[in-house]
C-alpha cells in the first residue's frame, strides 16, 4: 500500500506472504497458514458446486446444477478431443485439477483474499503430480516403446540423436513451465493490480484514473483466471496424449 509521507512506497509482493493463522512467526510442516485456509475454502467451493449444487438431480436442472453439468461436459469433451477416447479413465483426475485451479484462481480475486495458485510451491506440486502420472502411465501402457517419444522416426537418421536430446530436455522442462505459467500469470496480475491501487492512494484527487484502470484490470484478471485454469488442464491432456500415443 502507498504511504503518502516520504514518497511513494508500494509493496506489491506483500500480499503473497505466507503467515500462520493462529499467532507465532514460525511456519513449520504442519502449521495452519493462510494458504491452508484458502485451499480449504477452494475445496469447500468446489464441493458446494459439484456435490450440493447438483444434489437435486432434476431432469430440468436448477441454475447451480446446470453450471455443474456444463463444467462436467465441457471438461469431458476436452479430454476426449485432445487426449483421445482411451484417456477418459483419467477424467476424474483432470476435472479435479481443473476445478481446483479454477476455484483457487477465482477465490484469489476476492479483495483481501489469498491466491494460493500464485505460489510456485503450490503449482509445482500440481505440475509434478501430472508429470509423474504421465511418465508412469507412459511406461505402464507402452512399456519401453514409450521411449519412442524421444526418437523421432520421421527425421533423417543423422539428426535423430540431436532431436532426442532436444525432446528429452523439453520433456523435463514440462513440469517447470507447467507450474511457472500458472503461478507467474496469477502473481503478475495481482502484483500489477496492487501497484495500480497504490497509485490511487498517492494521487489524491486524481485517484479516479487508477481506480478505473484497476477496474478494467480486474475484468482482465477474471478472464486470465479462467483461461489459465483451462490452459493448465488442456496441457495436462496434451501430455497425457503423448503418454498414451508416444509415436509421432
Amino acid at each position: 500500500m502507498a504511504e503518502a509521507n516520504g514518497g511513494l512506497v508500494i509493496r506489491p509482493m506483500d500480499q503473497f506472504e505466507v503467515r500462520p493463522l493462529f499467532g507465532g512467526d514460525m511456519v513449520g510442516l504442519f502449521t495452519i497458514t493462510n494458504v491452508t485456509l484458502w485451499m480449504a475454502l477452494t475445496v469447500v467451493a468446489v464441493s458446494l458446486l459439484m456435490v450440493v449444487g447438483s444434489r437435486g438431480r432434476a431432469l430440468v436442472p436448477t441454475r447451480s446444477q446446470s453450471m455443474a453439468e456444463l463444467t462436467y461436459s465441457f471438461i469431458y469433451k476436452m479430454v476426449e478431443d485432445v487426449a483421445g477416447r482411451d484417456a477418459v479413465r483419467f477424467f476424474p483426475y483432470i476435472i479435479t485439477l481443473f476445478l481446483f485451479v479454477l476455484f483457487a484462481n477465482l477465490l484469489g480475486l476476492i479483495p483481501f483474499a489469498f491466491t494460493t495458485t500464485s505460489h510456485i510451491a503450490v503449482t509445482a506440486v500440481l505440475a509434478l503430480a501430472v508429470f509423474i502420472t504421465v511418465t508412469i502411465t507412459g511406461f505402464v501402457v507402452n512399456g519401453a516403446a514409450f521411449l519412442k517419444l524421444f526418437w523421432v522416426d520421421s527425421a533423417p537418421l543423422a539428426l535423430r540423436p540431436v532431436l532426442a536430446l532436444i525432446e528429452l530436455v523439453s520433456y523435463f522442462v514440462r513440469p517447470v513451465s507447467h507450474s511457472i505459467r500458472l503461478a507467474g500469470a496469477m502473481m503478475a496480475g495481482h502484483a500489477v493490480a496492487k501497484v495500480f491501487a497504490g497509485f490511487a492512494g498517492a494521487l489524491g484527487v486524481a485517484f479516479v484514473i487508477p481506480v478505473l484502470a484497476v477496474t478494467a484490470l480486474y475484468a482482465l484478471e477474471l478472464l486470465v483466471a479462467v483461461i489459465q485454469a483451462y490452459v493448465f488442464t488442456i496441457l495436462t491432456c496434451v501430455y497425457l496424449k503423448d503418454a498414451l500415443h508416444p509415436s509421432h
Binding site: M13, M78, D81, V82, S177, I180, R181, G184, A185, M187, A188, I227, Y230, V231, I234, L235, V238
Partner: protein, 78 residues
C-alpha cells in the same frame, strides 16, 4: 558505493528481462492473428481448432513468463 553499483546492475538486468515479455507478446499476437485469418477463411473449421489456439498461446506465453521469473529472481533472490 560498491553495493550501489551492484544494485544498479541488478535493476538494469531486471529492466532488460522485460524485452523477453515483448517477444512473448509478438508470439501470442502472431498465433492469435494467424488463427483469426484462418478462421475467417474457413469459419466452419474454426470451432474445432480453438483448443490448438490455446495450446499454442500457452507455449508462447510460457517463454515470456520465464523472463518474468528471471526478473523476479534478480529482484528478490540474487
Amino acid at each position: 558505493m560498491e553495493g550501489d553499483l551492484a544494485n544498479m546492475g541488478k535493476y538494469i538486468g531486471v529492466g532488460l528481462t522485460a524485452i523477453g515479455m515483448g517477444g512473448a507478446a509478438i508470439g501470442v499476437g502472431n498465433i492469435a492473428g494467424n488463427f483469426l485469418a484462418g478462421a475467417l477463411r474457413n469459419p466452419s473449421a474454426a470451432a474445432g481448432q480453438t483448443a490448438m489456439l490455446f495450446i499454442g498461446i500457452a507455449f508462447a506465453e510460457a517463454l515470456g513468463i520465464f523472463s518474468f521469473l528471471v526478473a523476479l529472481l534478480l529482484m528478490f533472490a540474487v
